[in-house]
């Protein structure tokens, strides 16, 4: 049922544990299994059938940590475990009764054995009601993962080199390709800022630049109708042409207005709303344009291939432990700011956390908040299938599948329904340039529920990397109603500030200090490959002709 995960390194057993395993194998663990009980919250303890309180056999104490010897089952408290080991030769390995964790008496330290953890886990799962255990025990979905990887490689930018032949003589050869100012057409900085980010999302960019979007045969254009995808293609070509004079994306704006009529005006709009609406437009246009594909449940339009991931939501009944799991797709993740506030107002030891005013919000803090188990209010009682009644429950989110490009949206507004007003939160949030999403994956989050155990899930993301590199930051300054968006792009180790038509190189400190609103991260491998090809090089006449990529349309 559970396989070993090569990425998750098991600590080497100490000499004493290794000896014990050699002599006794799994017999001690197996005998213990029957006595393990797990609470709905996930804590596993060793409880034998006797009603008596476990006591240390030396001092009769019951207040300290108690350890059960794996060989003779005698219980010693933390002060007397050594004594027991001295009395009985070879009785070195014990189990912490309260926590079901292995302890080596001679090393005076906790030790780990995946075999032991597996047995604890199995007992826990066996005891849980029916199949609602929050563990994905389905057969490995390797084939779908491999397809995703191939899909990412299909959007390979090797073909991007073709574009270099369109180099304009006016191009500043020191700046990377694709850096071009965008004119503000009337409060359209929300659009310009997001477009700059999209221009440099590696697989998204490659899709449009390598002509996978074959606009020649676009049915809409031939009948003189608007096609959002074609307009994007034209936009990309213009920006990557090498011409450095600011470009006016008027056609694209018009196209987008047609799609999102409710947002069509010269008023200021929200960049995140524009982003979602744009992706939605691409999806709709793409789906109509292509012939129906075999329904695998995954959409193959470029927007989904690049940005879509999958979220997992677990709701656990607090009475019996039954967990209901649902999966939902996402194109981006909206995060609440972590403010470090906690319900209890007086922390006795003030020196540890001086005051809330000096707590710095971080992206990792926001992600922690996002994946934190959240108690659902008493008005949101969940109907537990096992208990057959409404119970208090705990909800926890995690990421089942990461996209190629991860867009993180910071919710910088708070609403006051009573006063019927909303306010922008200007609080600074620190964000990293390299992001490892591993702790927020479903495999990590669900694993943590079972305590400090060493094992791997069947559904672990063994193939895809969890390391991301930032390539664009959309920042906002001003208030909810009136403000200005600026995008910072990270290209070839240099940061560029894109303020509508003005592009300037800036130091990374400027970016770190900025007030981020949307963060764009690309999978590390894609990011580095994309950056290699941004160099302006003359195309060799012996270069390969453009090869169509099979199976992408």
């Amino acid at each position: 049922m559970m396989s070993r995960n090569s990425m998750y390194t098991n600590p080497k057993p100490c000499k004493h544990l290794a000896d014990y395993k050699l002599r006794h194998g799994l017999s001690g663990y197996n005998l213990l299994q029957e006595q393990i009980r797990t609470t709905p919250s996930g804590k596993s303890s060793v409880k034998n059938h006797q009603t008596e309180i476990p006591r240390c056999c030396f001092c009769n104490g019951y207040q300290k940590r108690l350890y059960l010897c794996l060989i003779c089952s005698s219980i010693s408290c933390s002060s007397h475990t050594l004594l027991h080991s001295q009395c009985e030769n070879g009785h070195d390995i014990a189990v912490d009764i309260e926590r079901s964790e292995l302890y080596c008496v001679l090393c005076c330290d906790q030790v780990y054995d995946p075999d032991f953890d597996k047995i604890v886990m199995l007992k826990h799962l066996m005891d849980l009601p029916r199949s609602g255990n929050g563990v994905d025990v389905s057969a490995g979905r390797r084939s779908s993962k491999r397809r995703r990887l191939c899909s990412a490689l299909e959007l390979d930018l090797k073909k991007t080199k073709q574009l270099v032949s369109m180099r304009d003589l006016r191009a500043k050869s020191c700046y990377p390709l694709g850096l071009r100012g965008l004119n503000n057409l009337g409060s359209t900085c929300f659009m310009n800022s997001v477009l700059q980010a999209l221009l440099h999302a590696p697989p998204f960019r490659n899709y449009f630049l390598t002509g996978q979007r074959n606009h020649e045969v676009c049915r809409k254009r031939s009948s003189d109708r608007l096609c959002l995808l074609c307009d994007i293609y034209v936009f990309f070509s213009a920006v990557f042409s090498g011409d450095r004079t600011p470009y006016s994306p008027a056609q694209l704006l018009y196209s987008w207005w047609q799609h999102s009529a409710n947002l069509a005006s010269y008023e200021q709009q929200d960049a995140h709303e524009f982003f979602i609406s744009m992706l939605d437009g691409i999806h709709e246009n793409g789906v109509k344009a292509r012939s129906p594909i075999k329904d695998t449940g995954e959409c193959h339009c470029v927007a989904h291939r690049v940005f879509s991931g999958q979220l997992r939501s677990d709701v656990t009944c607090m009475s019996c432990g039954y967990t209901s799991t649902t999966y939902d797709p996402f194109m981006d993740i909206s995060l609440n700011l972590d403010t470090g506030n906690c319900p209890s107002t007086d922390l006795a030891n003030k020196s540890l956390k001086p005051s809330d005013n000096t707590y710095v919000s971080t992206l990792l803090g926001c992600l922690d908040l996002f994946t934190k188990p959240e108690k659902l209010g008493s008005d949101q009682k969940f109907f537990c299938e096992n208990c057959q009644e409404r119970q208090d429950s705990v909800k926890q989110m995690s990421i089942k599948r990461l996209p190629l490009v991860l867009c993180l949206h910071i919710k910088r507004f708070e609403h006051f329904p009573v006063r019927r007003m909303s306010r922008k939160i200007d609080r600074y949030m620190q964000f990293p340039f390299c992001l490892d999403m591993n702790p927020y994956l479903s495999s990590s989050v669900v694993r943590n529920r079972f305590g400090n155990r060493m094992f791997a899930f069947e559904g672990d993301e063994l193939d895809t990397s969890t390391e991301f590199e930032i390539f664009a930051v959309v920042t906002h300054s001003g208030t909810l109603d009136s403000g200005h968006y600026v995008t910072y792009l990270h290209l070839k180790d240099q940061w560029y500030k894109c303020d509508d038509a003005w592009i300037t190189a800036v130091e990374e400190e400027v970016v770190r200090a900025s007030q981020c609103y949307m963060l764009f991260y690309a999978q590390k491998m894609l990011y580095y490959k994309a950056n290699e090809d941004l160099v302006c090089q003359p195309v060799s006449p012996r270069a390969d002709p453009f090869l169509p990529i099979a199976g992408c349309c």
């Binding site: 005998l31 609470t39 919250s41 034998n48 006797q50 009603t51 008596e52 309180i53 476990p54 006591r55 056999c57 030396f58 001092c59 009769n60 019951y62 207040q63 940590r65 003779c72 089952s73 005698s74 219980i75 933390s78 302890y103 090393c107 005076c108 330290d109 906790q110 470090g340 906690c342 319900p343 209890s344 107002t345 007086d346 922390l347 006795a348 030891n349 540890l352 956390k353």
Partner: protein, 111 residues
């Protein structure tokens, strides 16, 4: 499997067993037997997580491990280092809440 929990204690501990159990011990035992202690422990854990105490302890542990080096620290070390700080930093509101619960239990258990 030999069950040695009821094994007679070694001679050293005989004196301890002959002592009368204190009131505190009686209460503790009653609470464990009735399952109330387990409930209170769960409540305590929940409260300590909510108020960020657990995270603070984790941070202290990390700092200690960083200082000593990952291979030079045992669980026992950590427990010894963290315990006094942990006990001192528990918010009063949590202490109050638990004491009230224990008092209610005593009233209901009619000791």
């Amino acid at each position: 499997m030999r069950n040695s929990v009821n094994r007679p204690p070694t001679p050293d501990a005989v004196e301890d067993q002959e002592k009368e159990p204190t009131l505190q011990e009686i209460i503790n035992i009653k609470m464990i037997e009735s399952g109330e202690k387990e409930k209170l422990m769960e409540l305590l854990r929940e409260r300590l997580v909510e108020c960020g105490w657990k995270d603070e302890m984790k941070a202290l542990c990390r700092a200690y491990i960083k200082k000593k080096g990952t291979n030079n620290v045992t669980v026992d070390d950590l427990v010894h280092v963290i315990t006094p700080k942990g006990r001192a930093s528990i918010p009063d509101s949590i202490k109050t809440e638990l004491l009230l619960r224990i008092r209610a239990f005593l009233a209901s258990a009619a000791l």
